[in-house]
Symmetry: C2
Subunit: 415 residues, 2 copies
């Protein structure tokens, strides 16, 4: 029997989602897998038959290294939610038909909550039909909101980018001796992990943001304006970090106060950008100060050039562990990171029952937010600091980081 | 007689404006200057008496290196335009009084057009009153719009950041197999150098932006929409780079079509942000596609973590040359970069009469823009490519680049 595997990437990309792919590829090759297939654009691609043979792209150790420094999903992504097993058997049948055609022994999916839901359903369906194919998930999300795992690959690199840019912007904003406020809008709809990471900028050479607002705490406009007013009495240039998802007590998102959302969205999706722009405009007219907003936007998940080396290594380890688990006979599991006790930071990979992970959201513990709701505590810093440490030794060409590119999307399955 | 010098930084900061400061400091020390003063917040600080003794901050070779990787103006900046000599003699008198008090022999100003205007006026005034103080300018501006010099320190690093992020965003935007357009808004009011730099992303592993719009060419909405429509027939995910300063034929800035400007500006200054947001909204409603905008914002001038090593070295060289010129008796000059002929890129520093530089604006030659006004030519690429090459070996601590910080702003002049 052939020992073929297939891997897909799903949901929003991260700076290190390809390091997990590299880990899966490298471990599968070491464990003498025959074919290592990639689904192009996730399960959607599998259904359409757009499959890539990864060994055509990854031939050398340098290719692995370049894959690890390539942002976004090398294989392309999708946002495809499987129906419940009772209802959509046709889709499940088609997926298993494709997998059997390719003689797949193990199926890996690198993604967030929705992707883990896919793994869960496919593993359950396999049990029902008596298929021996193994299904293992490898976690990724910059949002860090997956349950059970200490943190998710992707978070550390986004946090490193955010902390670095926050530090550089604080430097920049202090250049003029004028009253000014800069509001940084950071990703995170329901969880404030990334916004909290802006506090990592704080150190001997930087004061860090003056105020930090996470979506875990209701936002109050009056108290916000008051705090800014008070801060202006002791300093001239303020930098404030807010999560895109902050909402008033009544549940209205702050960004809904902004024109932009009405303008931009052609799909009826509620876009969550605009909160910083709105708050800057309010401060400017209420306090008469110079106020500007900066959206960190998708740069947060794409800035592989400043990825955290710890994050890259853990993403790679997670992928490799997924392969070992599948080849050991496990299925319906997600790889998690477990932080070892002790002073020195260390994480090990394990697997965990996917039923207990999928569709749960992990927010920042309220005890890690200060009483005023304007900062994170030392516990948060101690948790997040090691995750941004270490720099990747990027390969540059012509002044720019080199990326690996998927050129030919479709390959024929073997006869 | 003492051999004291004073240096200031002025205008918008860049990622390497402190490398010029480091060059001035290092060369002045090597040439055995006595005191090396810094004006805190430029000429404004000099007038107020906020002066720093730089040797208190820069003690080791590592300090020099850290100064070179610190974004923004280490000494703080100002936007202070000197009056014409005829009219404002009081201010000139006060400046020279301060300089004489500090026994200054040479005055250096690192900045753009306005700063060179300051050097020009002070040098002329010195001539009138028979002062022997030398005045030399060191160029900086991310906009690259200073006349005579081949390019300006600061441009290469901003261009490297823009090209890197453009490349990473193109990767990111291709993850989903959906019709989408991403519009990147890049700095540059009248000159498209930075927007053109997005084309540097193009290479074996990246197609580069699909369309590039510089402020040198009038923007036409219908032709723009048509081009996007046509591109969608051959590909799904488009990335478009525009300059914040693009304007319609009648001179109206595209950004003026956007709500944002009315909201944000408390000072009556016309803010130039919002063009990308407006165009994304238009495309979204006219073509029914997913459209988003990303403003590169001040990150462009602050992203020292990915500064070009060529740029850092040239900024340093410019500072050092300024000191040698002043000590050789030159005054009323700006340091320029001159590109040597030949295949291998090489720039040398020279000085140039400031009268012929100040207040001139250098835009992208029209022959370096394609006929349709939607891209830059190979000449542009050949010009800009060497300026982004080389990576700085950044010193990190706790996962973040280390910066040098000015702690105590005011020092007493010596007795």
């Amino acid at each position: 029997m052939s020992k073929n595997i297939i891997v897909g990437q799903s949901g929003g990309p991260t700076a290190v989602i390809n390091a997990s792919l590299a880990g899966i590829f490298a471990e599968a090759r070491d464990m003498e897998a025959d074919k290592i297939y990639g689904m192009v654009n996730g399960v959607e691609g599998l259904l359409k038959g757009t499959i890539a043979d990864l060994s055509e792209y990854i031939k050398t150790t340098e290719d692995i290294k370049i894959l690890c420094q390539t942002p976004s999903s090398f294989l392309g992504s999708c946002r495809f939610k499987l129906p419940n097993i009772e209802k959509g058997n046709e889709i499940f049948e088609k997926i298993f038909e494709k997998l059997n055609e390719l003689e797949i022994e193990a199926f890996f999916y690198i993604g967030g909550n929705d992707s883990m839901d896919t793994i869960k359903k496919l593993a359950n369906y396999a049990k029902i039909i008596g298929s021996s194919i193994k299904f293992i998930g490898a976690p990724k999300t910059i949002d860090n909101d997956l349950a059970v795992t200490d943190h998710t690959p992707g978070f550390g690199s986004a946090a490193k980018y955010i902390a670095t840019m926050t530090k550089e912007i604080i430097c920049d904003s202090a250049a003029y001796d004028l009253k000014s406020v800069t509001i940084l809008e950071i990703m995170g709809r329901n969880a404030g992990w990334l916004t909290g990471a802006s506090a990592l900028a704080r150190g001997e050479d930087c004061e860090g943001p003056d105020l930090i607002y996470l979506p875990e705490i209701p936002f109050d406009m009056d108290s916000f304006t008051e705090k800014v007013k008070n801060l202006f009495e002791v300093k001239n240039t303020l930098v404030i970090a807010i999560s895109e998802g902050i909402a008033f007590k009544d549940g209205t998102n702050v960004c809904e106060m902004c024109f932009k959302n009405e303008n931009l969205d052609a799909f009826g999706h509620k876009s969550l950008t605009g909160a910083a722009q709105y708050l800057a405009a309010e401060l400017s007219s209420n306090l008469g100060c110079k106020a500007r907003s900066i959206e960190f936007s998708t740069l947060q998940r794409a800035a592989a050039h400043i990825a955290s080396d710890t994050d890259i290594n853990e993403a790679f380890m997670s992928g490799a562990h997924a392969v070992r688990a599948a080849f050991d006979g496990e299925t319906g599991k997600m790889v998690i990171l477990e932080r070892a006790a002790g002073k020195e930071y260390k994480c090990v990979t394990k697997t965990y029952d996917i039923d207990k992970i999928a569709n749960e959201v992990k927010t920042v513990p309220l005890s890690w937010i200060n009483d005023e709701g304007t900062n994170v505590t030392e516990e948060f810093i101690n948790y997040a600091r090691p995750l941004i440490c270490g720099e990747n030794d990027i390969i540059y060409k012509n002044g720019l980081p080199v990326h690996l590119k998927l050129k030919n999307k479709v390959v024929q399955p073997r006869d």
